[in-house]
Amino acid sequence: MPVIHVFVKQVPDVSTLEYDPSSLGPRLEKATLRLGEVDLVALEAAVRIKERMGGEVVVISAGERVNELVLREALAIGGDRCFYVSDPRMAQADSWVTANVLAQLSLRAGKADLLLCGEASSDQGNYQLGPRLSEILGYPCITYATQLELSGEKLRVRRNLEDKVETFECGLPAIVSASLELAAPRLPSLLMIRAASRKPITRLEISALGLSDAMLESGIVRRSVRVTKTSRKNQVLKGDTGECAVKLIESLQKEGVLAI
């Protein structure tokens, strides 16, 4: 029965994130925290395998200030236990540091047959964890998965590139990074949420991971973040459909964007 490690990141909900009108920076301190969109897709894929084959789903996470309540959502969806690191050093972590930390956390959490992560984190969108873990752990990795089947020890994965669709097979252990299209994440029921409160969560210190200073040294420094909103006219066209169509055409003609 497969043991599956799923990597989920606690991120600000970008769909409700506000910015400070004077600095144009995001108001991260006010943001709602959630799990990454594609990370939840990866988790859903893992839970479906568990439902079919048995085994265990272990949730793994690292962040600068991790809130256990957010991690509990992953346990409510079907994770069995959770290992995480919460350390201010993660604030400046680049993909090198993140991969080093998460690889060690995964090893501490025990043997895994399948490691699942998202193709891109919802906040940073680096597209790197899967391939980097592959180099650290020496397992093959298939990125951008849109379909995944596990039968016995054989994994079959489809993925979409810009110009082709590829199907791969490989043995275990293996790493897969999920695309949004891999699975539609479920919403946990009240029963599952209640059950999650009893599932074990283990917090490890970064210093317990046996990582050298070099492995924790980020190659980048974040200088500034600013919003990219453009100002719009925000005119609402109301009335019956025919009138709206006329108003729209006339407005667009005035703007000079219609050839008609």
């Binding site: 906040d123 909103k229 066209l237």
Partner: protein, 317 residues
Amino acid sequence: MKKALLIAEDISELSELRAVAAELDAVEVEAMGPEDLQNTPALERFGLTRLYTSTSWSEDPAESLGKMLAELISGSGAELVLGVSRKRLKDVFARAAQILKSPLLTDCLSATWSDGELVVERPTLGGGYVENLVVKKFPTLLALQQRGRQISDLSGKAPEVVRLEGKFSGVRAPRLISSEAVSRSGVDLAKSRIIVSVGRGFKRKEDLKLAEELAKLLGGELACSRPIASDMGWMPEDRHVGLSGKWVSPSLYLAIGISGQVQHMVGVRNSRIIVAVNNDPSAPIHREADYSVVADLYEFIPALVRELKARSARPSG
């Protein structure tokens, strides 16, 4: 900066990456790519000292290519490695970066030297924001968004061509079972002036005809949100607009049945006029549109089409 290595799939990528290397004042520039790159006419105008070619670049698994690239980078002594941000390249770059203990920044909008520091701009937080990063470790790998930059001819000698042998056959990699080319529209949306874009507000594939007819009347191109291409497969991948798709800048972007999530809107922000047709008054796209029509697309689009047809039949005046 001393030396840059460009990883290019084809000649247009090579030209774009060479332009960026020039902006970054690279003193020496080498390139790597598939074998037919060496047949490029007047290769000397790219001002390359060396061109590495690889027969296996298009076929080998990322597991071997990452190792090959890491060896090439450390062998060449390049400080900056540039490529165009495509899915497969990001995969290979991430592997090489991990082997070299290096940073990789993906989907970069720009890279410049400022007071002796390399500053990179890239989208963050779903695309609604741009972050400025300073690179502290070299070699550094940058996967850049394609912008259609071109070099003007650089004088120089023809590069020395070096063939790379694929020799990492022993790596553990997934077995490729099948590979099918997907249909592509071949249209360069980045150059379109008028774009009619469809989202999940459309219930069936056949209904896209409504938008097609509208696009034809307006002389525009059809585009879509990510789920229409990737989930439903109703449109080719190269028509999807947004963070993970095309970034467009038409004079008119008409979004029909699109909710306006940040990951979509980042791709259309540079449009001059944005029109939203969405029956949900609270859909976020209404806040980011110049003209909002709160209506059922199944009623509004036929009405709009009728009105446009009536006008084009009438002599203008």
